[in-house]
Each structure stands twice: as structure tokens, then as C-alpha cells.
Symmetry: C2
Subunit: 223 residues, 2 copies
Amino acid sequence: MATTGSISKASERAYQAIRALILSGSVAPGSPLTEEALADIVGVSRTPVREALRRLESELYITRSGGTRLFVANWSHDDIAEMFTLRAMLEAHAAARAATRITAAALAELAAINARITKAVSHGSDSGPDIAAFLTENRRFHEVIIDQSGSPRLAAILATLVEQPVVRRTAARYSAQELARSAHEHSQLIQAFNARDAEWARSIMTAHIRRAFHAFSTAPPAK
Amino acid sequence: MATTGSISKASERAYQAIRALILSGSVAPGSPLTEEALADIVGVSRTPVREALRRLESELYITRSGGTRLFVANWSHDDIAEMFTLRAMLEAHAAARAATRITAAALAELAAINARITKAVSHGSDSGPDIAAFLTENRRFHEVIIDQSGSPRLAAILATLVEQPVVRRTAARYSAQELARSAHEHSQLIQAFNARDAEWARSIMTAHIRRAFHAFSTAPPAK
DNA sequence: ATCATCGCTATTGTATACAAACACCCCTCG
DNA sequence: CGAGGGGTGTTTGTATACAATAGCGATGAT
């Protein structure tokens, strides 16, 4: 899982660290950020911090006031709703593209992943669904589809739209039935891919993500 | 008082300059880029060049090979087709959102802009349509709509998708009739906004951009 | 008392120096 | 003759020093 290519690099560490600070709520929305303070926290110099900040700014995690001062962005419920809407639109498009391009190997991988998801969410003898496993495999499932869509641009846009903390909060709110339904929707996607039916795949993916949005909306605030 | 904008900033100049080099074809797709050479060309140090390159990389103008070396990305016709498809989807969404949010002032501005567009493309006594004016006003027209959609995230994504060189090439290929049809489509959009009809606006915008794509596709290669 | 103006300070923007990593090439050895 | 290994030079990554600038407060005038 080479999700983070260069984790040893200071600029990448800075990006991850600052992003984590914001998403965890450790720094309140609206509070000012200074490059030097962040550099101290992360333990690197201002140079990699600046690169991380530019990236976070382009992803709307932080905003500039007056052209210079940096502040933690304040994501409203409407902002998150818009992210879900865009994600639904774009990831459904990715699914439609993937339907006509997917390789046999990728199809097999999707099936294998979803088998693991099904296993993770079916309460066996133990204490209940394995949310951690669900999140890992679910993420991989969606990654494979985006990859198979063959559009690096789409992948780049979606990367800024799919926030794992949001996904986690959504999954944590899912009931066992809802988790199972997620797995079922995945299997329907696989059927659509098998049939090479782009519009079928698009519809399933749209529904899949919009349902996630509504589960998220009923979840309590993060903090 | 009057902010000079970020144009005077070295990092912004570097971004514009390098982007222009790539879009104009001055540096061939696939050719390697070194930070120092670019710094010399732009006339700034490597630091702002690096910031510009990070941004250009996130916008897929350049790619990294082996994690470090930089190359000019090679946009195929398929890549551009995909950009048009995504742009159509997202800008149509922007139009739909704008339909229910647009202010009276913005509506009036759209009407004024489109009046100027109509004037620019109607061949009066002079030598023909004023393409430069068309491009300026057309750009502004679309900017107002994206702005009125009230989604900074959508605006940020679209900014990376709407390439003025591509638009210019498209417009240069338009016949006088097609330019007039563009203005007519704009006026239909204004009608949809007046009616606060989101789906009408979405449809018009989709058609507007897809037609532009097909005009672009029949245009000769850039160089 | 309120407002404008001036100057200081905190913070960002840029350049440069240095360190590390990678690629390439040559040389040696099997 | 081919393959592997190290050396070398180029390129990127990071830190630090310095310059510029925006914000903020003090100070004084009206």
C-alpha cells in the first residue's frame, strides 16, 4: 500500500502532521497559524512547512486572510454536503469509466476485497463487526475503481474530496445492517463491471455515496 | 493600500512563467525540468520555483519520475477530452447551484456581459468578430456563474480544469455563426437563472461546453 | 474622545548555503 | 562479453539568514 510515497521526507511529514492537527480538531477552525510555530511542532524548518501549507491551502484546509495570514478553514455542514455531492458525481463517473476499462485482474481483486469486507462486517462469534478492517478494505476497493477509471486527473481531484476522517465517522455510525448493505452495494458494482454496464455502475456508485452522506449527517459532531 | 495582488510575488511569477512555457509548447512534453534552470529562466531563486512546481504538479502539468525527477506532462487528446467531460459535469453543477442562489446584481451583470459578447461577435461595419473581446467577456461570464454557485471548492477544482489556451483555440475555430450561438446559449442560461430553474441551467451549460469540445476537436493541433 | 498617522514588531517572502539522494558511467571481475 | 559495484557529478531536499511587508499599537492633533 504505497499510499504515501515519501513518508520520510520532512515536507510530507509536515503535510500529514498539520493535516492531522486540523482534522482532529486540535487547532480550532478560524484560529491563526504561523509557519514558525508549526515548524516547531512538526520538528522541521519553515521550508517544508511552507510547502505543506501551500498544498493544504489548495485543498481548502486553510485559508489566507489579507493575502498573507493563514487560518484554519471552517468547514460547515454545507461544505461537507457539497463535498459529498461532488464526490458522488465524480466517483460515479469513475465507476462508469471503469466499467468499460476494468481488467480481469482488477475485477478479481475487487471480488477478493469485498469478500474480506463481507467477512469483516458479518458478526461471527466475536464481539461484532471489525470497523478497522472495513475501513482499510473499503478504501482499497474505491481506490481500485478510481485507478481502473484510467483518469489521473479524476484521481487527483477525488483525492482531495475523500476524507478518511469523514469516512471513518460515517462508518462508525453505520449499523451492522448498514455495513452489510455497503458490502452488498459493492457486490452490485462488481456485477455492473462484469456486465460492462457503465450506467449501471454509475447509478450504484451514486446511491452508495449518497447513502453514506445521509449516514454521516445523522452522526454527532466530530468533537 | 491597493494590493498589488500576488503578481509581484516571485512564486506567482514563477508559476505563471513556467505554466506559460508548458502551455505554449516552448518546452516539449516529456522533456525534463530542473529547478535551477527554471530559476534562471524566470529570474528568481529556486525557492519560489519549487513552490510553483508543487502547484503545477498537483494540476498535472508536470509529473515526477522516480519520485524526484520532473518532466513536462504529455496531455493526449483523451486527457483533454476528459477535462472537457469533467468540466461539463462540474460547471453544469455550478450553473444548477447558481440558479437558486444568484443575486439580482449578478444577474444584471451577466446580462451586461452577454450584451457585450453579442456586440463583439456581431459583424458590424468592421472586419469581423472581435475574438479578444469575446474571450475576455466569455471568461468573465463563466466566472460570475461559478462565483454565484457559492462553492469555493467547486471553484478551486474548475480553476484547474478550464485552460484559457484551450478556450482560445476553441474560439479561434468558431465560425461567426457558432460565436453567435454561444452568445445565444448564454442568454438561455440567463433565462434559466431568471426562472430559478436549476435543471434547465444545468442542461444548457452541459450542452454549451460539450459543443465547445467538439469545436475544439475539429481544430488543428496547437503547433 | 475619536481619528489619523507614524513607527515598531511579528510574520511572511526570498535567497543562499549545505546535505542527502539519485542517476549515470566507468571500471573491474567473473 | 556481461554483470555488478563503487565513485562522481548532478539534482533535489532542508535549514538558516536576511529582506520586505502587513498588522497593530502608541501617540498626538483636532
